[in-house]
């Protein structure tokens, strides 16, 4: 339910804003974050943040301002600043009026269990984590975060939306003084869906499986990408699947809609009521969310389009409210038996675009990489650099595991991919 403070601030803005058009948001974020490293707490932070942003227009001259307070004097400043900017600004030939009234879908992003979860309980989780590390004569580092947020959006043309959300997150890296380093991370809407025992079990299992790493030749390998690696790799589609760059021939998605670019085993969708997953019910610029099938069985179905470009080309705008890659039923054991040998990859790191036109990215493995042969893990491997094309990797998917929502807004499976390109090795 919307706080009274939000209602008062909203009324004040509406009453005092004299522009031809306006759109504003108000948010509140109550955060508790505790960082730990080397088996001790290094930072412990607590506080509430507010934000108010206002976009106004006189004709097609627009201006924006934002402040971090709901205080009346700050709101006066906000309105005056945004209006002054708009009045002094040059006309924008691509200006789009604020969005009109829309039916906002019902999503449930808030959990009472998370709201009630105390700082002491968070610190207790760290206590368990540190205790586990000390038993293993290792060091743990990470962060536990609890965030409760409210977001309200309203504009002059009738769009109005309010949403609340909760998130609990724990990210832990266990390392020794030599080469072993393993990580697990998970964020959930409902803290009761988080089990520190289960997470520590997974962390220990990954850590214990690490041996003195061996250097291997670069080249193409079968890879089993665990969910964190899948998210980090394929989430580049959140940037690349954009329509304007595609239409301009800048990205690989030029004339891609309707074509099978990704192979039959790859489907990427957004679903508002997916079990265990949050979804944004509307975008910051006033687009109501719905379910989207972005890529189905390899065929590109939709590209996302902001309101300005959508108006220009005469289509409906859209956005990505959450990120789901559809999975299958294969277990990791089945994946290891499907191919003669390969690598299991826990995570990727520092992924950057090499070529937007080619859909190519580069990055490194991290947090544990294992060589397997004849269905069994044989040894750890030095980290590797990959240079790979997103849709080529998707075409090479051989098996899919069950979907895992390791973050509160994304759900992806483990994947077995053949011929993944490693272009360089590392010294550790």
């Amino acid at each position: 339910m919307m706080e009274k403070q939000f209602q008062t601030a909203a009324k004040f803005i509406e009453k005092n804003c004299s522009a031809d058009d306006f759109s504003f948001y108000i948010y509140k974020s109550d955060e508790q974050r505790t960082r730990y490293a080397q088996n001790m707490i290094t930072q412990n932070m607590s506080g509430v943040k507010y934000g108010v942003g206002l976009c106004v227009a006189y004709g097609n001259k627009s201006g924006r301002a934002s402040v971090n307070s709901l205080d009346e004097n700050e709101l006066k400043f906000l309105i005056k600043t945004a209006q002054d900017i708009a009045k002094l600004n040059k006309p924008d030939p691509e200006y789009v009026p604020s969005s009109s009234k829309a039916k906002i879908p019902v999503v449930n992003n808030l959990s009472d269990n998370t709201v009630k979860f105390s700082m002491k309980e968070m610190v207790d989780i760290i206590g368990r984590t540190v205790e586990n590390a000390e038993k293993k004569k290792a060091f743990v580092s990470g962060i536990v975060t609890k965030t409760i947020g409210d977001f309200y959006l309203k504009n002059k043309n009738g769009f109005e939306g309010f949403t609340s959300g909760s998130q609990f997150e724990n990210s832990m890296t266990l390392a020794d003084n030599k080469t072993r380093e393993a990580k697990v991370e998970r964020s959930v809407k409902d803290v009761n869906d988080y089990s520190i025992n289960k997470e520590l079990e997974q962390l220990n299992s990954r850590f214990d499986a690490l041996t003195e790493p061996k250097k291997i030749e670069i080249g193409k390998y079968n890879v089993i990408l665990r969910p964190q690696a899948v998210i980090n790799f394929f989430s580049f589609l959140l940037y690349f699947l954009e329509r304007k760059n595609a239409d301009n021939g800048i990205s690989a998605f030029h004339e891609s809609v309707g074509k099978n670019m990704f192979g039959k085993n790859f489907s990427m969708v957004s679903k508002l009521n997916e079990k265990g997953l949050t979804a944004e019910p509307f975008s910051w610029d006033g687009i109501a969310a719905r379910d989207f099938n972005w890529i189905v069985n390899g065929v590109v179905k939709e590209l996302y389009t902001d309101r300005s470009y959508a108006k220009k080309i005469g289509t409906e705008p859209n956005f990505i409210p959450n990120f789901i890659i559809r999975g299958g039923n294969a277990t990791e054991d089945e994946m290891m038996k499907k191919v003669k040998n390969g690598l299991i990859i826990n995570n990727f790191w520092y992924i950057r675009t090499v070529s937007l036109r080619k859909n190519e990215v580069t990055g490194l493995t991290r947090d544990g990489i294992y060589y397997f042969e004849n269905g069994k893990i044989k040894h750890s491997v030095n980290n590797l650099r990959f240079n790979e094309v997103l849709h080529e990797a998707a075409k090479n998917i051989l098996l899919l595991g069950k979907e895992d929502n390791i973050t509160s807004s994304a759900k992806v499976p483990t994947m077995l991919i053949k011929d993944f390109t490693f272009a360089d090795t590392t010294s550790f």
């Binding site: 307070s69 700082m119 580092s141 990210s171 580069t362 272009a423």
Partner: protein, 480 residues
């Protein structure tokens, strides 16, 4: 109301071993023009205070944006509660802070024209003119221009007696043109970095001339050949490419918090561990890296850091040997140092200060040498300008970097442009392969805006600098 004193008195009465308060107001202007459309013209204010206390040897931090005596006291109490909670986990381990004294001082950025006072129309007209100039070329399909102006007004007070007021301004213009044909798309960016200066920094850039050059080079790159297979050859890097190269391969590995493992869960650790100090050969004899938070126009030049430690200048790598780290008051004692180098910074009032890269630069060569002479002296190489696609491992050893414009060199002459060039190397190979650095006439700074680090992610600015330099026998070529 003297909120600084209220906070510190309250923290001390509750038993804090140390306390500080930062009242910080960050004003940011962002103008973003895509093609000829004004996508954003935004002014943002973020104002509040963060209170940090050390109790039982553990940190606690709380923040608020409500300025009343009651709220300040409540925030101190929350910070104390948080610290006490931390201490229960930390058991016998506790933080000791490096020695520092209190300062009563003020510091502000020297500038001629306050960018916030320049009429918006003037800024937008210049930006539109730049975009229009680039869009005049038929093959340029998309352009954008981003202008950021930031002002940080900060009052810092600590239980050591410090009362410091600083007022820091940064400005950062950059624009990009993307050329497209039926087979490819290639971007070219004008990006000379940000600067602790006023609008005069932008006016001196001759942006319309640079727009012509940027658009033309995007088209040249579009029609250029790829470099072929990776093979070893010489690399000549301009100061803007070197800016990010040193940021990733020298700046981050010499942040002491990373060395100590404090960033192990996300940003990573460092190969440059303490036993390597004063003996590890980081680079060739001519490689000298200086940390300098007094550098004129430097983005990390702020008078004092967020521990209240004054800006300093020191060698991080001296004559090729790892010499010192960038440190903070809570990290320095852990390697036996009594004093901090003043590298503690937070982005906003609600952020906890963390160990950041200082202004860091490569000293120019001592012998007269120009970039043209360096090219003339190179048989088989590639000259790279600007930055793009930087990626490095979490220990800061192995990297693959690209650039924004590439020129092939054969027998002392530039023979053709290239596109999609990558170079792959590692520490210590890369800096040890540095055999020539142009002299001080060619030294240029490059201000990095938005270096991301920490959990939650914080953004920080710092300046790097270099003269064009050569690296022998590096793996260079296409992506696979």
């Amino acid at each position: 109301m003297d909120y600084l004193s209220i906070a510190l008195d309250c923290a001390q009465s509750l038993g804090a071993e140390y306390a500080d308060i930062r009242i910080q107001k960050t004003k940011s202007e962002l103008i973003y023009i895509e093609d000829m459309g004004l996508k954003h013209t935004n002014m943002s204010i973020i104002h509040g205070y963060g209170i940090r206390v050390l109790k039982n040897g553990s940190w606690g931090f709380a923040h608020s944006n409500t300025f009343t005596k009651h709220d300040v006291i409540k925030t101190v109490e929350q910070a104390m509660k948080v610290a006490e909670m931390s201490a229960k986990i930390n058991n016998r381990k506790s933080f000791t802070l490096a020695y520092e004294r209190g300062y009563i001082d003020t510091y502000s950025t020297k500038m001629e024209i306050d960018p916030f006072k320049v009429p918006l129309k003037e800024k937008v007209e210049l930006m539109l003119e730049v975009n229009k100039t680039m869009l005049n070329y038929a093959k340029i399909r998309s352009v954008f221009f981003v202008l950021e102006n930031v002002n940080d007004d900060k009052f810092f007070a600590s239980s050591l007696g410090s009362r410091i007021h600083s007022n820091i301004s940064h400005t950062y213009p950059r624009f990009e043109a993307t050329a497209v044909n039926e087979k490819d798309s290639q971007p070219r960016m004008f990006d000379k970095g940000g600067n602790a200066a006023g609008w005069e920094y932008v006016l001196k850039m001759n942006l319309i001339d640079k727009a012509v050059q940027t658009a033309e080079e995007a088209i040249i790159k579009l029609e250029a050949d790829e470099p072929g297979e990776i093979r070893r050859r010489d690399l000549i890097l301009d100061p803007f490419n070197l800016g990010l190269t040193m940021h990733e391969s020298v700046g981050h590995p010499t942040e002491l918090d990373r060395v100590l493992g404090w960033e192990a869960d996300y940003a990573g650790v460092s190969f440059a561990t303490p036993e390597k100090l004063k003996n590890y050969r980081y680079g060739s004899d001519i490689v000298n890296f200086v940390g300098d938070n007094t550098l004129p126009y430097g983005l990390a030049t702020a008078g004092y850091d967020d521990d209240g430690v004054p800006g300093q200048k020191w060698y991080i790598v001296k004559d090729g040997i790892l010499n010192e780290y960038g440190t903070t008051r809570d990290t320095a004692p852990l390697i036996g140092e009594n004093l901090s180098r003043g590298c503690s910074r937070a982005t906003h009032y609600y952020d906890f200060p963390i160990n950041r890269i200082p202004n860091l630069y490569l000293e120019p060569g001592k012998k007269p040498l120009s970039p043209q002479e360096l090219i003339s002296d190179t048989e088989d190489g590639i000259y790279i300008e600007g930055k793009r696609s930087f990626s490095i491992d979490q220990h800061r050893v192995n990297f693959q970097f690209s650039g924004d414009m590439f020129w092939e060199i054969k027998n002392g002459k530039i023979i053709r442009p290239l596109k999609d060039v990558l170079y792959k190397s590692n520490n210590p190979e890369f800096w040890n392969s540095c055999d020539a650095i142009c002299d001080e006439r060619y030294w240029k700074d490059y201000g990095v805006f938005g270096c991301g680090k920490g959990q939650p992610m914080q953004s920080s600015n710092m300046t790097h600098g270099a003269s064009t330099s050569r690296f022998k026998n590096i793996r260079v070529g296409g992506s696979k």
